[in-house]
């Protein structure tokens, strides 16, 4: 028996890029976050070969969760093909050997920036959202120590006050993305800058969502079958973007969240934000054998 037979061979890096202790810390924090839905858990946030603010929080969670059998999908504002999404996907595959996919239905792990796919996620899938600012109270309480006390006391009157002010000034709630939502009836969280359209998808969802902010070093979670209720007044209902009637100019898909494409003549056309769903719709129209999964919205209405 020699020392070399007891130890591993030298490798240029650990499996999945992060060292074991970093992954262990993130795993623990994820478990905590799942145990207290919506509550922010601080973590160390290691260096990864990407600038802070470009999805390092999501990447660290993905690197921790990934194994050689995990099928990985990465999207950026719904698109699989943006530079950021493509490079994160390639990085994840290179350091873990995990297979990648563009199809939501095939993925085990979906890292996303600012969107939730239109096809319903299943209990065996994990959604990782990149979060720029995890603290919903920041706009109303710049002092983070006091903000934490407010979370502890469930002191969220100021959040409603913010909505009140918006209605008073503009006649409606102006909050677009990052709509503050009450998780499990206890903690208010920011769902990351997903559009209002996507927030109801988190409510009582089958899948686990981990939201992670690398620059701010905090992560929180929405476990499966957990209530996620956007903060609203009892008499001013929550409204999603009015995209239900819009038709994608490229795929013909209707009733999903769209990107607006301004035209030279001043009008706009629209294109479906979930690019893979758009691709599948086009293939289906061309007669290919495509499996379109069940969607959260049907004919533009939440089902």
């Amino acid at each position: 028996m020699s020392l070399s037979s007891l130890t591993k061979d030298w490798e240029p890096m650990s499996y999945g890029f992060l060292d074991a202790s970093a992954k262990r810390e993130i795993r623990r924090k994820m478990l905590k976050a799942v145990a207290v839905p919506g509550c922010q858990m601080p973590y160390a946030s290691r260096e990864v070969p990407m600038a802070r603010g470009w999805g390092t929080g999501g990447l660290q969670v993905s690197l921790t969760l990934v194994n050689p059998k995990t099928t990985v999908k990465v999207i950026d504002q719904g698109a699989d093909d943006s530079v950021n999404a493509a490079s994160i996907r390639r990085f994840l595959a290179r350091v873990s050997g995990a297979p990648t996919t563009l199809d939501t239905l095939e993925a085990d792990l979906i890292q996303s920036r600012h969107r939730i796919p239109e096809e319903k996620l299943r209990a065996d899938q994990v959604l990782v959202l990149q979060v720029p600012n995890p603290e919903p109270l920041r706009p109303v309480q710049p002092n983070m120590s006091i903000a934490r006390q407010m979370h502890a006391d469930a002191d969220y009157g100021r959040m409603w006050l913010q909505l009140y002010e918006q209605i008073v000034r503009s006649g409606r709630v102006m909050q677009g993305a990052s709509y503050p939502s009450l998780v499990n009836g206890r903690h208010v969280m920011t769902p990351s800058p997903i559009p209002r359209w996507d927030v109801p998808k988190l409510h009582m969802a089958e899948h686990l969502t981990i939201l992670s902010a690398g620059r701010e070093k905090r992560l929180h979670a929405v476990p499966p079958f957990t209530r996620v209720e956007p903060l609203v007044f009892d008499d001013v209902p929550y409204k999603v973007e009015e995209h239900g009637e819009l038709i994608c100019g490229r795929s013909g898909a209707k009733g999903f969240f769209m990107n607006e494409i301004p035209q030279d003549d001043g009008t706009s056309t629209y294109e479906i934000s979930d690019s893979d769903y758009g691709v599948k719709t086009i293939r289906q129209a061309e007669g290919a054998q495509v499996h379109l999964g069940e969607t959260w919205y049907k004919n533009g209405e939440l089902s």
């Binding site: 009157g157 006050l161 009140y164 008499d235």
Partner: protein
């Protein structure tokens, strides 16, 4: 002849507020020494004294913002019992939000200067759990109206308002939930004399219409004389004299009180 706290009683009235032997030091400075007070429902207690007499510190303790080194504080309310100084942060916050209103001398302490005036009032209702927009707006308007705030300025932010108007917003905020106790810390100091009279008048009316129990702190004897039923004179953290307002002003016993009353123009 002084009146003892345990003076014989004709009627067994229960004080709303009882503070006993409250003392607090900051380092070597004893800000409040052994102050005791009782306030009965519907009564207005005035606390006078010069700057640094400890009167504002005492008031902040009544608002549970400060905890004394020693002493007890009870309110005769169904939802609380025992020494309020022993309540934890959460219980204090809920009690203050729901049952105690305060108006500060400096509106910046009490108001969100860039939010709407109605929103400032609505915040208190939100803390108490009101979640209907129309209801919030209505009740905020009512409270502002009761404070004689011009309703056409309902949504103007306090930063754009005059000092007198800012005090009215604070007052509306303080009374929005019909508090059991209203605390006023120099509510008219720094206002023009004419505006001061209007704010005092509003306070007086509110007191009479709603029979609110108040503790008002001021170095201005005129303010105390206008509002208070009973007066406590403080100096260097201690109470030098306490009595019925007319007695304090007409027949002050303590040398310091005499000096104070006679210095009044």
């Amino acid at each position: 002849m002084t009146i003892a706290l345990d003076a014989p009683r004709l009627v067994q009235a229960q004080p709303l507020l009882t503070a006993q032997n409250v003392s607090k030091s900051y380092g070597d400075v004893q800000a409040v020494r052994d102050v005791s007070a009782e306030v009965f429902p519907g009564e207005v207690l005035g606390i006078v004294g010069e700057s640094g007499s400890g009167k504002s510190t005492f008031l902040r303790m009544l608002n549970l913002e400060e905890t004394p080194d020693t002493g007890t504080y009870t309110l005769d309310l169904p939802e609380v019992e025992g020494n309020l100084f022993e309540l934890d942060r959460f219980a204090r916050r809920m009690l203050c939000a729901k049952r105690i209103g305060i108006v500060y001398q400096n509106p910046h302490l009490g108001l969100l200067m860039n939010h709407s005036s109605s929103g400032n009032v609505a915040e208190r209702l939100l803390v108490a759990g009101e979640r209907r927009f129309t209801e919030l707006r209505e009740r905020a308007s009512e409270a502002l109206q009761a404070s004689e705030f011009p309703l056409e300025r309902l949504d103007a932010p306090p930063i754009e308002l005059s000092g007198g108007m800012q005090q009215r917003v604070q007052l509306a905020k303080a009374i929005a939930l019909e508090p059991a106790l209203l605390l006023l810390d120099e509510p008219t100091t720094g206002l023009d004399v004419s505006v001061q009279a209007l704010v005092l008048d509003t306070l007086k009316r509110l007191q009479q219409d709603r029979n609110i129990t108040m503790v008002i702190v001021s170095h201005d004897l005129g303010v105390i004389r206008t509002l208070a039923d009973r007066v406590m004179v403080m100096r260097r953290g201690a109470v030098v004299e306490a009595g019925l307002a007319d007695q304090i002003f007409q027949d002050p016993q303590h040398a310091y009180t005499q000096q104070l009353v006679h210095a009044k123009l």
